[in-house]
């Protein structure tokens, strides 16, 4: 269970006394400290410079009324936060965000797992299908979204295909529910290949004997899946769900190209709302405030998932 390995294990090479051990101050331990810092220095410096400092600046901006055009930057204290509490749009935006994220994560993970199980069968041509399902991952996101924009038109390719089998398709991007469904599906199809491959690798790591034993005991396929497969690949499920949840809260280009948050404001998720406020409406201070909220939500969700791992992630020990 590599993912969950206790960090302490990492240090087990370093407690031996230094060979020779003549210099008392310049111990192996100190040398290790230095080596460690040097090794992580580029990444740490980058994190500070390109993540922490910008994040701090965003918090700082959120305490200001910042009008770019008029070139004003006035300290207003918690005013933006108070405005956020009273923002009539925010409940709708949060609802859309929740719907989008839950739908995306559920569809992505279940489809990835389902496809992985199918492709894990002893079947000719699984490599071919693996390529098909993975191929959208390598297509440029902008190209992908532009193409789906064409296809989802009322007179576009999707409804054209449905028409040939006698189904009168809905006007996808114009209905509240179908628009939400469309952006979710477009995103899932684009990226499910990544999770699929991770699941596939995890499935191949499950020892076949376990299934043999289960079959001898007369367990059904579903029981085998539930009692053997899921627990054994639970670390992968945890990791993919964390990455997918975090990713779902960052989806932007697809919504900007496909629906611009509409119809109404049914697909205005938090990132898009933040973009609107800051870059379109020029409320950079308020935009920064929403950024802070978004960051806190992502942080909270990640912490919760990380804590939950103790409950349901299977441990070998």
């Amino acid at each position: 269970m590599a993912l969950l390995t206790d960090d302490r294990r990492a240090g087990r090479t370093s407690h031996r006394p230094a060979p020779g051990g003549t210099r008392r101050w310049w111990t192996t331990r100190r040398r290790d400290h230095l080596a460690g810092y040097l090794f992580i220095a580029p990444q740490l410096a980058g994190s500070v410079l390109f993540v922490l400092i910008p994040l701090g600046l965003v918090v700082w901006y959120s305490l200001h009324e910042w009008n770019v055009l008029a070139d004003t930057f006035d300290f207003v204290g918690a005013e933006n936060y108070r405005a956020m509490a009273d923002d009539p749009n925010l409940p709708g935006v949060l609802r859309a965000t929740a719907l989008f994220s839950v739908g995306l994560v559920a569809l992505n993970l279940s489809l990835a797992l389902f496809l992985a199980v199918l492709l894990n069968q002893r079947l000719r041509g699984t490599a071919f299908f693996r390529v098909l399902f993975f191929s959208p991952v390598v297509v440029s996101l902008v190209a992908w979204t532009i193409v789906w924009g064409f296809l989802l038109q009322d007179n576009g390719g999707i409804n054209g295909l449905l028409d040939t089998i006698g189904v009168d398709g809905p006007n996808w991007l114009r209905g509240d529910l179908t628009a939400m469904l469309s952006v979710i599906v477009v995103q899932v199809v684009k990226n499910v290949g990544l999770n699929l491959v991770l699941f596939l690798a995890a499935l191949q790591g499950v020892p076949g004997e376990l299934y043999e034993a289960a079959r001898v005991e007369g367990a059904s396929r579903w029981t085998q899946f539930r009692r053997i497969t899921v627990p054994l690949i639970s670390p992968t499920i945890l990791l993919t769900s964390i990455i997918t949840v975090v990713g779902s809260l960052q989806v932007f280009a697809q919504i900007a190209v496909l629906t611009q948050g509409g119809p109404g404001s049914s697909t205005t998720v938090l990132v898009y709302y933040l973009y609107q406020q800051a870059f379109q409406f020029h409320h950079f201070g308020y935009g920064a405030t929403i950024s802070v909220l978004l960051f806190l939500i992502v942080l909270a969700l990640t912490v919760v998932q990380w804590q939950m791992r103790k409950r349901w992630v299977f441990h070998e020990q």
């Binding site: 990444q43 980058g46 600046l57 069968q121 295909l161 790591g205």
Partner: protein, 280 residues
């Protein structure tokens, strides 16, 4: 899961897989075929699966309306530099977080992990101001430095750390006992062993850089410096009306080479991804 499948199950499996594959294949197919269709046929209803007549005008126009070859080169070289840079940074950091014990390790790891949680829309304005203060706006530096050192490389570091944690440490310990220094151990033993993880990180990183959209739009303003995703949105007539066939041709041009490379190298590709040490 099972040793042999009945013919009925096989048919069922193939059928399910084929139907599910449609949304994965159809958009790309439609993009490529439509790019050579006459404009009026792009919107034909129902869509024609095979173009009635083929015209490569869109492809020619893609290169004549913009410095498209240069933009292609920009995207490619940036993605390659970012990939190698990220490999270096993340392998070092991942190795240290997994293998070396130093004070504040866990806290520092958490600090680094924060980068994973922040959408780029959140930090784009402060980053823009910082790069502007450094006089680096409208250069490729922000598109190279931020991915290598900032938030995007964090996932890479995370993957490398997990890989090294899963890798038995005996070889390295033996080398250390033979008096090899930390860096030499890393360089001669750890790094060669981590090839699968490095492969996975390269793929992630290359695709991420290749797809970057918001950052180029914000940082770059000279067409000769544009990257591909940004260039794609520029195939419009003078009044912002899209030139459909040119746009689709250009989109196909950005996708086809990567798809071809992927199909050829898919085994290493996918298996590299799978062996990230993320599994059980």
């Amino acid at each position: 899961m099972s040793s042999s499948l009945s013919p009925r199950t096989k048919v069922l499996l193939y059928g399910t897989l084929s139907v599910l594959a449609i949304p994965f294949v159809f958009p790309t197919w439609w993009m490529v075929t439509s790019s050579v269709k006459p404009v009026s046929e792009i919107f034909a209803f129902p869509p024609s699966l095979v173009p009635t007549s083929v015209s490569f005008e869109g492809y020619r126009d893609a290169f004549s309306t913009q410095p498209f070859a240069q933009q292609y080169l920009n995207s490619a070289y940036i993605a390659v530099v970012v990939t190698f840079g990220t490999l270096a940074v993340s392998a070092l950091a991942g190795y240290a977080f997994a293998r070396i014990r130093f004070r504040g390790q866990n806290a520092l790891f958490l600090v680094v992990l924060l980068g994973l949680l922040i959408p780029s829309e959140v930090t784009i304005v402060p980053l823009f101001r910082m790069f502007n203060a450094a006089g680096l706006v409208d250069t490729h530096w922000p598109l190279i430095l931020v991915p290598i050192l900032g938030a995007p490389s964090v996932l890479a570091t995370f993957i490398m750390r997990q890989f090294f944690l899963a890798l038995p440490a005996e070889l390295e310990e033996a080398a250390r006992l033979d008096g090899l220094g930390r860096f030499a151990t890393f360089w001669r033993i750890g790094l060669p062993l981590s090839r699968p993880a490095l492969g996975a990180v390269s793929i992630f990183t290359f695709l991420h850089s290749w797809n970057l959209y918001l950052e180029p739009i914000v940082f770059l303003s000279t067409p000769e410096k544009f990257t591909l995703p940004q260039a794609l949105t520029q195939f419009v007539d003078a009044y912002g009306g899209p030139m459909w066939n040119v746009q689709l041709s250009a989109a196909s041009l950005t996708a086809i080479p990567v798809l071809v490379v992927f199909v050829i190298a898919q085994r290493q590709f996918v298996e590299g991804l799978a062996h990230t040490g993320l599994k059980g």
